[in-house]
């Protein structure tokens, strides 16, 4: 019986709520963008949708830890970290690349830089709750 990481307990509960907020807002933003003006900036909007999926997977897997979901949580938070760093850097270096904003633009400046901090907190929490042998 593999140990279940308590990622949804203690401070983890508040973390899950923060992830849920970002999942919903990224989902909302990308649906509006894709529904109203899909052709204008397909890369930015596709990226918004991708970010929404990443946040949604991270939220679910942190909220329901288990032998299958916890590794997925690691993967999702890892992708989130790479995403915010790569997209953040690209948008700062060449703003024309993404004509419209995404959650990760300018390292998430539009969201109080929370998107830049969140993956580090997520990874630290996953590390903190890992099974000790």
């Amino acid at each position: 019986m593999p140990e279940v990481q308590p990622t949804n307990q203690g401070w983890g509960r508040a973390l899950v709520l923060v992830y849920a907020v970002f999942a919903i807002s990224a989902l909302g933003r990308s649906s509006v963008q894709l529904a109203e003006k899909a052709g204008e900036a397909p890369l930015a909007y596709g990226l918004s949708a991708f970010a929404a999926v990443v946040y949604a997977v991270a939220t679910f897997c942190l909220a329901r830890p288990g032998p299958r979901t916890t590794p997925l949580a690691w993967a999702a938070v890892g992708v989130e970290l790479v995403g915010v760093l790569v997209v953040g850097t690209l948008t700062v270096a060449d703003p024309a690349l993404f004509p419209d904003d995404t959650v990760w633009s300018a390292y998430g400046a539009g969201y109080g830089w929370v998107p830049a901090v969140l993956p580090f907190v997520g990874l630290a929490w996953l590390w903190h709750t890992r099974p000790r042998r």
Binding site: G10, G12, A14, L17, V21
Partner: protein, 121 residues
């Protein structure tokens, strides 16, 4: 949209976050005081949603209706769901959820207001 209501909602949200933070520091699970504040806040959010949608339907304002109603409904659903999640753990970890909720709500209220008031209007 009526501004005094939004201001009151933001103030009560921040009070919720502050009281929850104090309770976290005191190592308390979510209790009656926090639930009372949350209930009061939810009533205000319900009023905001009803008034907002009413004004949208009756007026001919140049507002992105889908986004506006989306924010109003998200704001309305957010607090009950966050409260349920908070009550799922009877420890200060659960109470900490309400600190986050109280800090997120003002942003949602402000965003709904921004959508209602187009830039440059």
């Amino acid at each position: 949209m009526i501004d005094p209501l939004q201001t009151a909602l933001i103030v009560v949200s921040l009070i919720l976050a502050a009281v929850a933070a104090v309770q976290v520091a005191m190592d308390r699970p979510t209790g009656g005081l926090l639930l009372g504040i949350a209930a009061l806040l939810e009533l205000g959010l319900l009023a905001q949603a009803v008034i907002g949608i009413g004004q949208l339907v009756s007026g001919d304002r140049d507002v992105n209706g889908v986004v506006f109603v989306g924010y109003l409904l998200a704001t309305l659903l957010f607090l009950p769901l966050a409260t349920l999640w908070a009550l799922g753990e009877r420890s200060r970890g659960g109470t900490a959820v309400l600190v986050v909720a109280g800090l997120v709500l003002p942003v949602l209220v402000l965003r709904a207001q921004q959508v209602w008031t187009p830039v440059g209007a």
